[in-house]
């Protein structure tokens, strides 16, 4: 079953074409990687899917719903979560609040109920805290609930960002360079971890990564992008030997 489908998506920044002709067919439960040289439009694709940018042309559908034209919070509420290439936590807020904020769309009480603390307010707030604590303990952050996010070490900030993305209850999770700044040992752990949350939360995953070890290690399908267009697509083994991919990464023809 197709979960996320993009057809002929184009995006321009002024006159500059950032994404030329992006097509994607992501199946439910799949783990797909997007790779490509710097400036290939990988993050732009994530921003187009999540509504940060509006696609100039084309269509992006999630479970049949058109995403182009929707705002980021509407798209997120459809249960598409994401993390960022450079961590974007709410730095001055507590670890717990970072995760609680991501419950916004799922919690269901009106501003009036909030102001008067009546009706669904109490029950919903308790549920939010409970779920947040559950997520924090999965990520071994439960003892740091009261800590300010910016005081966490780098690795924990990465974990917290994934915990926060999971708090929106995603079916599709977009990870933008989750292994950035990690050493090989940490990357091994991350690979195991991604596999685990995929099963535990029944996720479909789309990830951007430069670390070939991670991409080749866990992705079932890899898409190679350049200027938003697909250079090659297929299982890791096929991608590794694709001449077009080597060309995009290493340049054309013999050196000298």
């Amino acid at each position: 079953m197709t979960l996320l489908e993009a057809t002929k998506v184009r995006h321009f920044f002024g006159g500059l074409c950032a994404v030329g002709d992006f097509n994607l067919d992501l199946h439910a439960g799949e783990l797909m990687g997007i790779i490509g040289p710097n400036g290939a439009g990988k993050t732009t694709v994530f921003n187009l899917i999540t509504g940060v940018y509006q696609a100039s042309e084309g269509s992006i559908r999630f479970k049949g719903t058109e995403l182009v034209g929707k705002t980021p919070h509407q798209i997120t509420a459809l249960r598409i979560g994401r993390t960022f290439q450079n961590i974007r936590l709410f730095r001055d807020l507590s670890v717990l609040d970072n995760v609680r904020i991501a419950h916004y769309a799922q919690s269901n009480y009106s501003p009036l109920e909030a102001l008067l603390q009546i009706g669904r307010y109490r029950r919903e707030e308790e549920r939010i805290i409970e779920n947040s604590q559950r997520l924090l303990s999965i990520f071994k952050l439960e003892t740091l609930a009261g800590e300010t996010a910016k005081n966490l070490p780098y690795g924990m900030q990465r974990r917290l960002e994934i915990a926060r993305a999971l708090a929106i209850g995603p079916e599709l999770l977009l990870l933008d360079e989750p292994a950035a700044g990690m050493n090989p040992n940490e990357i091994d752990q991350l690979m195991e971890f991604i596999q685990w949350i995929r099963q535990e939360f029944k996720l479909t995953l789309l990830l951007i990564e430069h670390q070939m070890k991670l991409v080749m290690g866990i992705c079932e399908r890899i898409k190679v992008l350049d200027f938003g267009e697909t250079l090659a697509e297929g299982p890791p083994e096929a991608i590794q030997n694709d001449p077009k991919v080597l060309e995009a990464y290493l340049g054309e023809g013999p050196i000298g």
């Binding site: 980021p72 994401r82 709410f90 609680r100 102001l115 009261g146």
Partner: protein, 363 residues
């Protein structure tokens, strides 16, 4: 010893009877002070100004502190509330026959200001920071010049002879309501949405926060209470004119917010109280009272100087204070911190799970 005291204090804060009892004492005092003249008239007046300023600071903090915008429109919302309420009590409602209608006028002032807040919220969808500050400044100037150009409401001369209907119990009531409402708002999903907008608006949107809705709510709540404060202010001062609600008034409130601390209700209460007190101390009569022990030879010329020039000095000291606070104390006294009593127990417990685990762990 101090640890024991602290535990005792924390235990006291957990008691459910504490809040109702404190409120009851507050209301009894608010009624008793004017009734039996427990404090002199001047101190009573200052107390009411402190209360009104607390409402203003707490409500402005919602936008400038919690949301991290820099709105300069607060005096404008105050003006809308003040004029709406004053016109109602003077021209519409039969206040002379039914003084009990006063709260209706105050409420109407708040609602009118909240409506204006809705309008100011719209540009905040598009612009942030300096640009939004300029737009709110423009709004303040528009309010002022609209009032100046409507003869029916006195134009630049203002409205004299407003009935003095604001009393200490009413001020206390509205202080409690505003603090309670802002506190409830802040510790809800909408309030956390406001905080996340300050931190990173795009990330906030991507974590499913409906940023537009949250901005609407924050601006509306903030301007509603500015309007309430304006209505109370008009019926205390008994005279309003466009000049009362200019940029100086906004600056006053800004100082209270930033001195007390951004994103802190307790901070705003502290800031408003301290600042109002300071401004009162800097009045010639107060200074004269404080210096009256000096020999006549020194006192008389000093006193004369103060009577003539202290008003000017206040206008120097006030902005200077704002500059110093912003430079050396950008978060103010209580920036991003809160009195424990204001934080819902549920929140405190969730944030301190580590500590409770430790306590359980030790035999």
């Amino acid at each position: 010893m101090s640890a024991m005291l602290r535990n005792h204090w924390d235990g006291l804060l957990e008691q459910r009877w504490l809040l109702p009892v404190l409120l009851a004492i507050g209301f009894v005092l608010a009624f008793a002070i004017p009734e039996y003249n427990l404090l002199n008239k001047y101190v009573q007046l200052v107390l009411m100004y402190v209360g009104i300023n607390i409402i203003l600071a707490v409500s402005l903090n919602l936008v400038n502190g919690y949301m991290g915008e820099f709105s300069l429109a607060h005096a404008g919302f105050m003006a809308v509330g003040a004029y709406t309420a004053a016109l109602l009590t003077m021209k519409v409602l039969p206040i002379a026959a039914y003084p009990g209608l006063f709260p209706l006028a105050v409420l109407a002032g708040g609602l009118a200001a909240a409506f204006m807040g809705l309008i100011v919220a719209v540009p905040s969808f598009k612009v942030r920071g300096d640009y939004l500050a300029i737009i709110t400044l423009a709004f303040l100037m528009i309010v002022k010049s609209v009032i100046e150009n409507i003869d029916y409401i006195g134009g630049p001369r203002g409205i004299p002879g407003i009935k003095r209907l604001t009393t200490l119990p009413w001020v206390f009531f509205w202080v409690v309501v505003s603090v309670w409402a802002v506190r409830n708002f802040v510790y809800s999903k909408y309030g956390r949405g406001v905080l996340s907008i300050r931190e990173d608006e795009i990330a906030s949107d991507l974590m499913s926060v409906n940023t537009r809705r949250v901005k609407f709510l924050a601006f509306m709540t903030s301007s509603f209470f500015a309007g309430i404060a304006g209505a109370l202010f008009a019926h205390l001062l008994q005279f309003i004119s466009p000049r009362v609600f200019d940029i100086i008034k906004t600056t006053d409130i800004l100082i209270m917010v930033y001195l007390g601390g951004i994103a802190s209700i307790g901070g705003s209460i502290l800031g408003a109280t301290l600042y109002t007190g300071l401004m009162e101390i800097l009045r010639p009569s107060t200074v004269a009272g404080l210096l009256s022990w000096l020999p006549e030879m020194i006192f008389d010329p000093l006193n004369e100087y103060f009577i003539r020039h202290l008003g000017v000095w206040r206008m120097v000291i006030m902005p200077l204070l704002l500059v110093l606070v912003m430079l050396y104390w950008p978060r103010g006294m209580m920036g991003l911190r809160e009195f424990r009593g204001f934080i819902p127990r549920r929140d405190r417990e969730a944030h301190h799970r580590l500590k409770t685990l430790e306590k359980q762990g030790t035999p």
